[in-house]
Point group: C2
Chain length 151, copies 2
Amino acid sequence: MKNVDEKFMNLAYLQAQKALLEDEVPVGCVIVKDNQVIARAYNKRESKKSSIAHAEILAIQKACKKLNSWRLIDCTLYVTLEPCPMCAGAIILSRIDRVVIGALDPKGGAIVSNVQLFDQKNFNHHPKVTYGVKNNECSSILTNYFKSKRK
Amino acid sequence: MKNVDEKFMNLAYLQAQKALLEDEVPVGCVIVKDNQVIARAYNKRESKKSSIAHAEILAIQKACKKLNSWRLIDCTLYVTLEPCPMCAGAIILSRIDRVVIGALDPKGGAIVSNVQLFDQKNFNHHPKVTYGVKNNECSSILTNYFKSKRK
């Protein structure tokens, strides 16, 4: 599992690198089913001028289109940064089975940090979670981006 | 304020009625700025085959387009049902000033019920909230829809 997770997190990281090239906050995501990538996306908030255009939301939309369903059963979502409440909520709604996170987000995260949305007993789906996969790379790309912005 | 809120909640309710005609879970939403409706939408999960296509998300996307910005400053969002975590998160991210809710959602809500996402101290925006505006109508349309589904 560890090697498989690192392999797919690498692909999510490549998406974050694409965001960087477009001067977007570098977060990337892939969705995997049956060991195949079915969707890949990166944050496009600035270019789309939309607060909805996070990597996870764009990847979920692509995956729904690919599977022709709003239910992403048996899918695993890999994302370089811990999802915010919007994206964590979208993951619950789309019934994604498992989420693999690169770096945690102590300020904006809503799965491990701040509020544990996957553990709310009334919600009707509770995805499994792994975090810290390729943590250093996923964290550094963000830190370096924000450092360059402050120069 | 009360009359103004009821007026705009009526418009959100009209959107919920449109959802009903298309056999979607009847939730409707409008976004208001300077006393003008800048976006209106209703739940389209089934027709769009996407778990993202909640009324609030579709309305936020339209409002961002209209204002050509991801920041919906000084906007009020009216919605017939308490937002889920995804939509509450999208409201925070888009910097909406105030949210007016029709009926609460004890099972899926994430503003008043279950988890109070607008009160998380680390999150960088905390919208104001009013709830219970035209509660009976907003609640009944949902109850009747689910009753008809069980027949």
